[in-house]
């Protein structure tokens, strides 16, 4: 079981880091999700891997599992879930406002970014119309 957990964490972290280093926002967001999954699994494992043990010390229980990492994981899941939502919204907004989904800032020597630009290519914008000024929450 140790091998299974360790390799799962390792593979997810490796894939996450690879995806975070990609040039477009979509793989970056997926990579961030994978990284947070790996982190959550890792946190869970810091309480040691024990099967079928109660999470509290009782009079009859011979052994127990540490309940604290599970509480930490719960907090971490909530935060990472919210953060993923934030980054998705910001990435979408950046795509709509600048016309491409590259992570680089414009002018940062990335010719691909302008090749992909739907605004520059004159293509009609996707069904998602940019929200009217003032209706986009914090991002307006």
């Amino acid at each position: 079981m140790e091998f299974l957990v360790a390799s799962a964490i390792g593979v997810m972290t490796a894939a996450g880091i690879y995806l975070v280093l990609r040039a477009r926002t979509f793989p970056v967001v997926i990579g961030l999700s994978l990284l947070t999954y790996a982190t959550n699994l890792f946190l869970f494992a810091t309480g040691r891997l024990a099967v079928n043990q109660p999470p509290v010390i009782g009079a009859t229980a011979g052994a127990y599992v540490d309940p604290l990492p599970q509480a930490l994981v719960l907090t971490a899941i909530v935060i990472s879930f919210g953060m993923t939502a934030v980054v998705v919204v910001m990435a979408l907004r950046a795509y709509l406002e600048t016309g491409n989904d590259h992570v680089d800032l414009p002018g940062d020597a990335s010719p691909e970014a302008s090749e992909d630009d739907w605004k520059l290519r004159g293509r009609k914008q996707a069904p998602v119309s940019p929200p009217a000024a003032g209706s986009g929450g914090e991002w307006a």
Binding site: L32, A45, I79
Partner: protein
């Protein structure tokens, strides 16, 4: 238990929530609530500052759960200093934002309050998982503030900022997990007791965790090679937000000072002074890179960003010596550089607002309104940032040079600090003469006719006045900060105060 301790977190939390629910559409109400909260916070911070001056460490057990099991807030001199710094800067920046920035997007005021809450919480907490939570609170608020006002470039820079910090958060959690797995505690004071007892076989895990944690704080403090997010973020953030972010880098510096003196300090056995060999070279490179960046910058905002990086290098290099005297000097410089950087970002924004399409870029543009006053303010701020006499930057540098004299690497410090000062002076002279002096020779742009708001000028003036006050009262200020350093280097008092809650509650 003194309930005053939780006020710096409670006040902005309540006001922030109130602003979201009740004052969303009312400009006057939102501004009034927000300013009232900032003034109240300043009052609370001053009171806590006075309370902390008697050198005893105070704790506040949340939910009356005793220390190693529950979360405690801890107030000592260092925490009180950071709270006061945050309150003063926050009020100044808010005053500036009320001049018009706050209405260029939605929810500026609630986000601002939550930002203050997160920063205050990070300074007060005595539990390092709770530190993670407060980091997240201040980051979530900063994501919103960063893209306030919108614009493609700003949102794109915002995405970079969010991604960098999300990766940082993951690393933070891994570090917390590693340290917890070998010590079985999340409380900083308890950690300080457990670290020396960690068996040799677990040292590798513990030290990996500690170094990963240092990595996270280094991302926050913009230490080379993890500084790359800062220029893009700060130069593209709205002016007042960039000024508030001047304290965000200091949150990283504070966490480094707190963790690596308390838990991985002199008594930590094999892990003693774990941070020093990593911090020293990285921060010296940061100093050089930041000040060189000042010379290479193409706009006032970029110049201010690189000046922040340079000052963080100087600050953390001094911290990395880990002696009482050096930390005392570093704290003085920390206070100074926060105000100086805040003022500089606000001035850059004043210029950008007035120059039209040229913004704050280093190109010739027609003379702008209130040019004389803004030039004078830039001059004062530049003197502060570059560390020229007579302002507090100069005193700070003298203290630092004196404080690191006994270090084995003193020659490096002296050479790099003095030579980078020269580079920074050249950089600021170049930028200032291009934007202010040469533009003065051009004919003025047609007057727009409307009266500018007074609040922004009051705000910048107040921050600059803080620099002057820090200069005039350098003696007492430094003596107080030395007291904070003494307290830091006697962790027994801190540990006793925190672990004592166990008895107190029983």
């Amino acid at each position: 238990m003194n309930h005053m301790l939780i006020m710096p977190i409670l006040v902005p939390a309540v006001v922030g929530a109130l602003l979201v629910m009740a004052a969303r559409y009312d400009k006057v109400l939102a501004r009034a609530f927000s300013l009232a909260s900032a003034v109240l916070l300043l009052g609370v911070a001053i009171a806590l500052f006075v309370i902390a001056s008697d050198d005893s460490v105070r704790t506040y057990a949340l939910g009356a759960w005793p220390a190693p099991f529950g979360i405690v807030l801890v107030l000592d001199r260092l925490a009180a200093l950071m709270l006061l710094l945050n309150a003063v800067l926050g009020l100044g920046v808010l005053l500036y934002a009320v001049g018009g920035w706050d209405m260029r997007g939605k929810h500026f005021h609630p986000l601002f309050q939550f930002q203050l809450m997160g920063i205050n919480g990070a300074f007060l907490t005595g539990d390092f998982f709770n530190l993670f939570v407060f980091f997240e609170i201040l980051l979530i608020a900063s994501y919103g503030l960063m893209v306030h006002g919108g614009g493609g470039l700003r949102v794109k820079a915002g995405v970079q900022y969010v991604v960098t910090n999300l990766v940082g958060s993951s690393v933070f959690l891994i570090a917390v997990g590693l340290i917890y797995s070998v010590t079985g505690t999340l409380n900083m004071a308890d950690l300080a007791l457990k670290v020396p007892q960690v068996p040799a076989g677990d040292q590798a895990l513990l030290q990996t965790g500690a170094v990963l944690l240092l990595l996270v704080f280094a991302v926050k403090a913009a230490l080379v090679p993890l500084h790359f997010w800062l220029p893009g973020t700060y130069a593209n953030a709205p002016g007042p937000v960039a000024a508030l972010f001047a304290i965000m880098t200091k949150v990283g510096a504070y966490s480094i000072i707190r963790m690596y003196v308390l838990a991985f300090g002199a008594d930590a056995g094999e892990a003693a002074w774990l941070a020093a060999p990593w911090l020293l070279p990285a921060s010296l490179v940061t100093l050089v890179l930041g000040m060189t960046g000042v010379l290479a910058a193409r706009s006032l905002g970029q110049m201010a960003s690189f000046a922040v990086i340079g000052s963080m290098g100087m600050l953390l290099a001094t911290v990395s010596v880990f002696t009482q005297q050096a930390i005392g000097a570093a704290l003085y410089y920390l206070v100074h550089s926060t105000f100086a950087a805040g003022a500089l970002f606000l001035i850059a924004d004043l210029v950008a607002e007035r120059r039209g399409v040229q913004r704050d870029r280093f190109v010739l543009a027609p003379r702008f309104a209130q040019g004389g006053l803004i030039t004078a303010m830039f001059f004062v701020a530049a003197i502060g940032v570059t560390g020229m006499p007579p302002l507090s930057g100069f005193i700070g540098k003298l203290l630092i040079l004196d404080g690191v004299r006994d270090s084995a690497h003193a020659a490096w410090f002296w050479t790099l600090i003095l030579s980078t000062s020269l580079i920074a002076i050249v950089g600021f002279s170049r930028g200032g003469s291009l934007v202010f002096w040469k533009s003065h020779a051009l004919p003025p742009a047609p007057a727009s006719g409307h009266r500018p708001a007074a609040a922004p000028f009051v705000a910048v003036g107040a921050l600059l006045a803080c620099l002057v006050a820090l200069t005039v009262f350098a003696g007492p200020a430094h003596a107080w900060l030395e007291g904070a350093a003494v307290q830091l280097f006697a962790p027994a008092g801190y540990i006793e105060a925190v672990m004592g809650t166990l008895q107190e509650v029983r």
